[in-house]
């Protein structure tokens, strides 16, 4: 392989693999913590692993155009499967590992996968349990052999064996390796390189097909935007099947040559993050929320001196942190206090969180509270927002360093063209744009406009400084009977800024007023209960506690006050609310696998509670079916208390209580 063979910029990921193995041969490409030690592979070694795997898969019959499912946690072998499949012209289809058998069967069958590479026995069992629904799937390859030793299934292979077979083939016929390389070089960037299924916020998930050339192009643009290079490193901990993981870790990793680190297990992510200290980091707002909650709780339990120091320096950071990060003028005394704070508090805190080396961090997926956003930025972490979609292969907008706000998502990303339709919907055209939904031409046509823009389904507008602001899903924005605008997500997000509130669902479209369901945060409220000697046996009991209800009522009140200050939203203050007796759960279909509320489903499931919110009753008895982790079903019974909230007069007027 010579550089000349790779004329021009690589336009597929396997081409980048060859390119990186040559350019960055001895630089780390992949690390994985196993048996308590970080094992690493250089780009050259990774090329070898992928070569052997590819030849092994080929020997099992994987051919151009075949679909190959990849199911499991973030493990090197699964990431290698992506490249190995792509090198043979096959299309990898990552699938959410925590999907229940039924959901998984739908996706596997819809995609028509012939091969599946899975992590462990759990996934093998799941696939086996619905094998008759996936007739095309003939070959199943597993990574971890544990528990699978005496499975007698046709077409079941150990990953290690497949790779060993590939290695033996190369040993016997070295020219196979050359053949493989020339196959990669001959491949066209116009072929589909991956199929990512959407999380299914609005119904069954759809298979988003992406072309190699556009995927590579998009990744190259954003890697340049944030100056990513082989000196960067990331921790790959996001769900493998999610576009964010595929883009941020796999695509950007191949394009810029940085090192991807796979955690030891899902439970050790926080420790692994601390050990690796990545330079590029992405997390949904939910994770930052969780971190802040943990920090706050731990500080409440700390000694007097530490609490005082923390409170003082966090205050200093609030005042000077962001201006310093953005290079704005700050008085010398402020700089000195901040430097002292960095030594005593911010540095150690960032170290504990694993954020010491972060150069660029992003959050997306949901709105982030401005306090939360500022907290992390004031510590000196360059946290920014982006707005993206699977259909765009992630980036639609991204904030530039130094022009960051919590209530907007930034201007269009490089080479992306955005416009707002007459109905207020955001539409875009981008280099990473998808080639269509697999086997759903009709849906594809519905999603595209006549002139080639993709409809995002989100309502938004451009602010005066050119940053895009997203209000809600276009179809979720509704109106009260009185004609006032209701953006449920906006209300929910305002509620969720309180650490005690984990999830909220607001209603109001076509009604007289706004009302909301509230889910308490077990960690935050549980800690409060512990400090106040309140005993509880279950989530349900804690949620039904009258004192908890009082706390939540206080938060709803504060939310109304905030809403009243925004002229657009003042009419949508919450008049009545209830604390839900059960945590909304993806296993029950109430949340998507990316943990977003499935509004229509929740509304249907809890119809009687919604009715009670609007008919003036003060409590309601409900029975709700729930699914346990092992798939069995049970029933939760509860009498849910329904409470009234104060509302405030709209904006301008001085803050005074309404009747």
């Amino acid at each position: 392989m010579t550089a000349a063979a790779l004329a021009g910029e690589p336009d597929t990921f396997p081409k980048y693999l060859l390119h990186n193995a040559e350019r960055l041969g001895d630089r780390p490409a992949m690390r994985h913590k196993d048996f308590g030690i970080w094992q690493s592979w250089t780009w050259r070694e990774q090329l070898g692993e992928i070569l052997h795997l590819a030849l092994g898969l080929q020997a099992l019959g994987l051919a151009r155009g075949d679909k190959i499912a990849v199911i499991g946690a973030n493990r090197p072998r699964l990431y290698w499967t992506f490249a190995a499949a792509q090198s043979l012209g096959a299309v990898p289809v990552p699938v959410y590992a925590d999907a229940v058998a039924d959901e998984m069967a739908y996706v596997l069958d819809h995609a028509g996968v012939r091969f599946a590479v899975v992590q462990d026995q759990e996934q093998v069992d799941k696939i086996e349990s619905c094998a008759e629904r996936i007739p095309a799937l003939k070959t199943l390859i597993y990574d971890e052999p544990r528990g699978l030793a005496d499975y007698d299934m046709e077409g079941l292979h150990a990953f290690a064996d497949v790779q060993a077979a590939g290695r033996a083939l190369v040993a016997a016929e070295p020219e196979l390796a050359e053949l493989w390389r020339s196959g990669i070089l001959a491949a066209s960037g116009d072929e589909i390189c991956v199929m990512l299924y959407t999380s299914g916020t609005t119904g069954r998930s759809k298979g988003v097909m992406l072309k190699a050339k556009s995927a590579v192009g998009a990744a190259r643009d954003t890697a340049a935007f944030d100056n990513l290079s082989d000196r960067d490193s990331v921790l790959a901990y996001l769900p493998l099947a999610w576009v964010g993981d595929h883009y941020l870790n796999y695509a950007q990793g191949y394009v810029s040559g940085f090192c991807m680190n796979c955690p030891e297990s899902a439970e050790t992510v926080a420790q692994d993050l601390r050990e690796i200290g990545p330079t590029f980091y992405f997390a949904p707002p939910r994770i930052f929320e969780g971190l802040l909650t943990t920090v706050t709780i731990r500080m409440e339990d700390a000694s007097w001196l530490k609490r005082k120091l923390y409170a003082h320096f966090i205050d200093v950071a609030k005042r000077y942190g962001e201006p310093i990060l953005e290079g704005r003028p700050v008085p010398l005394s402020g700089r000195l206090s901040y430097a002292l704070g960095a030594m005593l508090i911010y540095g150690p805190l960032k170290n504990v969180l694993g954020f010491s080396n972060i150069r660029v961090a992003y959050t997306a997926g949901e709105a982030i509270g401005s306090d939360l956003f500022s907290f992390f930025r004031s510590l000196g972490i360059n946290l920014k927002q982006l707005y993206g979609q699977t259909e765009a292969f992630l980036y639609v907008t991204a904030q530039k360093d130094g022009a960051v706000r919590s209530d907007a998502v930034g201007p269009a990303a490089p080479n992306v063209d955005i416009r707002i339709s007459e109905s207020g919907e955001v539409q875009f055209r981008s280099p990473g744009m998808f080639a269509g939904y697999f086997n759903q031409d009709e849906t594809t046509a519905e999603t595209m406009t006549g002139d080639g823009y993709v409809k995002t389904g989100d309502a938004g507008f451009f602010d005066t400084d050119g940053q895009l602001k997203i209000i809600d899903r276009a179809k979720d924005v509704g109106k009260l009977v009185t004609g006032e605008l209701v953006a449920p997500k906006y209300i929910e997000n305002t509620l969720k800024f309180f650490p005690d509130i984990k999830e909220a669902v607001a209603f109001g479209d076509g009604r007289d007023f706004c009302a909301a369901f509230i889910n308490i945060d077990l960690q935050a409220v549980g800690n409060w209960a512990e400090r106040n000697n309140i005993a509880y046996a279950s989530y349900q009991e804690l949620a039904g506690n009258p004192q908890v209800a009082e706390i939540i009522a206080g938060h709803v009140d504060a939310t109304n006050l905030r809403l009243s200050r925004e002229p657009m939203m003042a009419g949508a203050q919450i008049r009545r609310f209830l604390v839900l007796h059960k945590e909304l759960d993806a296993d029950d279909g109430e949340l998507t696998r990316t943990l977003k509320v499935r509004r229509a489903f929740v509304a249907e499931r809890y119809a009687s509670l919604i009715e009670a919110l609007y008919d003036g009753s003060t409590e309601k008895y409900v029975e709700t079916e729930m699914t346990y982790e092992d798939g069995r079903k049970g029933v939760v019974r509860a009498t849910v208390r329904i409470m009234d909230a104060r509302t405030y007069p709209a904006a301008e007027a001085p803050r005074r209580e309404a009747a």
Binding site: D34, F35, G36, I37, R146, G147, A149, D150, E264, S265, E267, T268, Q271, E629, D630
Partner: protein
């Protein structure tokens, strides 16, 4: 699922290896009394290589006493215990360990202030060869030995999926995880016979399911023979290959879970009858 014939031979180091299906331990006519209290009366049963053998019975039936006899903690007044085809005499608990018998306790008995890793490491001490001098010197052979043992311990941590609590002091862990760490320490001894004293006691449903899976995995993957005492009948019937039932220190039934379940004396012992 639980066909013992398909199993690999036990991993016991100090002990002689036996083929699956052979008798590993034979308890013959054992009686034990404390003064006037007869805890165990004339009990005989055997444990075969590669099986999961359960000892069940109502409260006070003599289950834990039986386990303590096997373990060498109590010496029976009558009867003999044969292990690997040899009769055991004047047994002490540390002899049991050397012969390849490890156990867990009904009430977790870990070193609370030590980390998970260190606790499991103590299970390896039986296999450590270097003397105090080398241990104090640290560098050299003792370090090499430590690394070798650490590798085994990491395998166990991986096996029991407790990577996230590797460095956590066990006193801070929830009960279910402490039980798992204790199992880990017993496994670190690489026993040919593992005694589990109420492994699911005090656990919630989810923890019980996890523990059951680990017990089955230990048995099937590592080929360890297991004798367990358990209260939860459902768990016992699902897990074990053969069950011994004790009542008031006597054996009232012995056989497969199905056979034992339908035995009228067992039903009477558990549900009670009008005397």
């Amino acid at each position: 699922m639980n066909a013992p014939s398909a199993l690999a031979s036990p991993v016991g180091t100090g002990a002689a290896r036996s083929a699956p299906g052979e008798v590993l331990m034979d308890v013959r006519n054992v009686s034990l009394s404390f003064g006037g209290v007869r805890a165990i009366t004339d009990i005989s049963f055997d444990v075969k290589v590669g099986e999961i053998r359960a000892i069940i019975g109502p409260n006070g039936a003599g289950k834990t006493s039986m386990l303590n006899v096997i373990n060498g903690f109590y010496t029976p007044q009558q009867g003999t215990i044969w292990f690997h085809g040899k009769e055991r005499k004047g047994m002490r608990p540390h002899h049991a360990v050397r012969q390849g018998i490890a156990r867990t306790f009904q009430n977790v008995a870990l070193f609370k202030g030590m980390s998970t890793l260190d606790n499991i490491m103590t299970g390896r001490s039986v296999h450590m060869q270097r003397n105090l001098f080398w241990q104090m010197l640290w560098h050299g052979p003792a370090l090499a030995e430590e690394i070798e043992h650490r590798e085994k311990v990491e395998e166990i941590i991986d096996f029991l999926e407790i990577q996230h609590i590797r460095r956590t002091p066990v006193g801070k862990l929830p009960y279910g995880l402490q039980k798992r760490v204790e199992l880990g320490r017993a496994l670190a001894m690489e026993p040919s016979l593992l005694l589990l004293d109420e492994p699911m006691a005090g656990m919630n449903l989810e923890e019980k399911e996890d523990m059951s899976r680990f017990i089955i995995d230990v048995n099937r993957q590592r080929g360890t023979t297991i004798a367990l005492i358990e209260h939860d009948m459902g768990v016992v019937m699902d897990l074990s290959d053969r069950v011994v039932v004790l009542d008031y220190g006597e054996k009232i039934a012995d056989g497969t879970p199905e056979a034992v379940k339908s035995d009228s004396r067992v039903i009477d012992a558990y549900l009670g009858v009008a005397h």
